[in-house]
């Protein structure tokens, strides 16, 4: 890592990343992904996955409860909208603070164990939180319905400056810029870029190296004089805060929060994103998040009816047979497709999509060093060798 990652390479990674994110509306148009709602999802789940990768990718501790922090972030943000102001900055601040606080507690408890026990502890905690949000904590979470904005919300700060106008619920904004449509996406994109930069710094820092040391051989770390616990807790809290930030952004783009955001399937999804993209790589989680959210969008929107229409070019008899075979894999059953894709990747590309790209790059340019920066130099501390 020391020799392979020069400052210039990191700069190139950063520049390519910034360019790719900001031009996403252009290059995602051909595959039909250029609309703000989806683009925002890419960015937000990208942030979630980047943060998750700091814990799972660097330390190897697999948390099955990170959606809790996503949920806490959303609730905190919506409460900030309700009580204080529709400006998104305080909402984001509160979300990160609260999720940070909760991750200190959950991390402190769960990190007393490692391996499968750690995963189970986080999973148990997540399900507890989900059930609490769903039932006991209804005054805070509004239970089943989810927390929503109302016209009658106090919004103390907003109302100090402007007279309450009773024309519908105001929309979330950044000092007057409305956070819907493309401005919402570009705000999320800027946050994503900042988050990616922080993650890059962490990967290249002594702190990051210590985390990969813990992943590689915790026994040796202890006999080398490191106390792994605070390092793990720090990584856990950082990833929890990333998740809280992502949760806040979900609320920014669509100001409601529901308990289902905390369900274990949501926690599992971020695990899939990270592994699918490339565990422990810098860019992998963002790619994984994008791919999963894209496929979710495509496949889940195909109902039985459109499926039939899409296959109208087939002969009469074939049409219904093919539709019958495909239909379980689309619509609400799109998780079947996701499962298949996930299995294929784990079996044939254990390093995730990122390792697939670098393999591709090296087949096309066998002699020279792979010049494609995103695919090659992003292999990192976890020791993927494809980069060289």
């Amino acid at each position: 890592m020391m020799k392979q990652t020069s400052a210039t390479k990191d700069l190139i990674i950063m520049l390519v990343f910034i360019a790719a994110v900001l031009t996403a509306p252009i290059w995602l148009t051909p595959i039909g992904a250029n609309y703000p709602d989806l683009l925002q999802k890419f960015a937000i789940y990208g942030i979630f996955a980047i943060g998750f990768n700091i814990l799972f990718g660097l330390t190897g501790y697999l948390s099955f409860g990170h959606a809790v922090f996503l949920g806490i972030g959303s609730y905190a943000a919506v409460w900030s909208f309700k009580l204080l102001t529709m400006n998104i900055l305080p909402a984001i601040l509160f979300a990160v603070m609260w999720s940070g606080l909760f991750s200190v507690i959950l991390g402190y408890i769960s990190l007393r164990r490692s391996g499968i026990y750690f995963s189970i502890l986080t999973l148990a905690f997540a399900q507890m939180s989900y059930n609490l949000a769903y039932s006991v904590l209804t005054p805070i979470t509004n239970g089943e319905t989810g927390l929503q904005l109302r016209l009658a919300d106090p919004r103390y700060i907003d109302n100090m400056f402007t007279k309450a106008v009773s024309e519908g619920i105001p929309s979330t904004n950044l000092f007057g810029i409305k956070m819907s449509g493309y401005s919402g996406f570009y705000f999320c994109a800027v946050v994503l870029i900042i988050c990616f930069w922080i993650s890059l710094k962490i990967f290249r820092s002594p702190f990051g190296l210590t985390l990969s040391g813990i992943k590689s051989n915790q026994h040796r770390m202890k006999y080398t004089g490191f106390n792994p616990r605070p390092y793990l807790l720090a990584a856990f809290v950082i990833s929890g805060m990333y998740a809280g930030l992502a949760g806040a952004l979900l609320a920014v783009t669509d100001p409601l929060a529901g308990a289902e955001r905390m369900q274990w399937t949501a926690s599992g999804e971020v695990v899939l994103m990270t592994i699918l993209g490339g565990l422990g790589t810098l860019i992998g989680p963002v790619i994984g998040a994008g791919v999963i959210k894209y496929f979710e969008n495509i496949f889940s929107s195909i109902g039985d009816q459109n499926l039939f229409e899409m296959l109208s070019w087939l002969p009469e008899g074939m049409q219904s047979i093919v539709a019958y075979v495909i239909s379980p894999f689309v619509g609400s059953g799109w998780h079947l497709t996701l499962g298949l894709v996930f299995m294929l990747i784990v079996i044939f590309l254990p390093g995730g999509l990122v390792s697939g790209f670098s393999k591709l790059a090296s087949t096309f340019r066998p002699k020279k060093k792979t010049p494609q920066p995103v695919a090659s130099t992003v292999s990192n501390a976890s020791g993927t060798k494809e980069g060289e």
């Binding site: 392979q4 820092s205 702190f207 992943k215 605070p230």
Partner: protein, 255 residues
């Protein structure tokens, strides 16, 4: 008089009904290479594990330079200045060699915990140079950027030794540093350890191979069935009839 830097005092350890260590006393003088020998199952490894905090003794204490070692966490013991080489090399297999050596430097410099997520490793040229220098000493510099898992067993041992030495420990514990090595590798390791010995580092070494013991040790304690049965210079131990009977046997005639 050299002063005693490491002291094992009246240590006893039971595993169920088995008495692994009984009334073990050990005084390691500063700057010496102190070997602990004994037949299989004599309790040598248990003793070393007690020394690094892996096993808590049922009775007795271990002190290092006036500080109590017993009851401390392994990382605290390391921070006191005690490094350990394991029987099976404990390295960071998923990291390049250079990072394997940088981690101990970080621990020496920053202590058991330091939160510095925005510091840059790359800019720390002095640390990089030091790490490279230690790899060079072990003849591993050419493989600096390879993953440690790709090393041969002998190289892994050398890497682990470099990882321990770069911490500038005041006491180095070696658990059978030549176990499973070919004769050629063993001789290389002996040379290496002799070089370190010249630097004046205090060492405790557990070893099966008498050739290794007699080429390195200044002082030998013989452990048999959890008890120290003899102590002295290599000459004294070699000629001790009790030791010849209990352990050395034919091996002594070979020397």
């Amino acid at each position: 008089m050299e002063n005693t830097i490491f002291h094992v005092d009246d240590v006893e350890k039971r595993f169920g009904g088995l008495l692994a260590l009984s009334d073990v006393d050990l005084s390691v003088k500063e700057g010496r290479t102190h070997a602990i020998i004994g037949p299989n199952g004599a309790g040598k490894s248990t003793l070393l594990n007690v020394c690094v905090g892996l096993i808590k003794p049922d009775r007795g204490t271990v002190t290092f330079d006036g500080e109590l070692v017993t009851g401390k966490q392994p990382y605290e013991i390391n921070q006191l200045g005690i490094a350990r080489v394991f029987q099976t090399p404990e390295i960071f297999p998923d990291l390049p060699l250079i990072e394997n050596v940088i981690l101990p430097v970080l621990s020496r410099r920053d202590g058991a915990y330091k939160f510095a997520p925005f510091a840059s490793l790359r800019r720390d040229k002095a640390m990089l140079e030091e790490a490279e220098h230690y790899l060079e000493d072990m003849g591993l510099a050419s493989q600096m950027n390879n993953l440690a898992s790709a090393l041969s067993r002998g190289d892994k041992r050398r890497l682990e030794l470099a990882m321990c030495l770069i911490q500038h420990p005041r006491l180095l514990l070696l658990d059978e540093p030549t176990a499973g090595m070919a004769r050629h590798d063993t001789n290389q390791t002996i040379e290496l350890l002799q070089k370190i010995k010249a630097g004046g580092m205090t060492k405790v070494i557990i070893e099966h191979d008498m050739h290794v013991v007699f080429s390195l040790a200044d002082y030998i304690s013989v452990l048999a069935q959890g008890k120290i049965i003899a102590e002295g210079t290599p000459e004294e131990v070699k000629n001790d009839p009790k030791v010849r009977e209990a352990y050395l046997g034919e091996a002594a005639d070979d020397e």
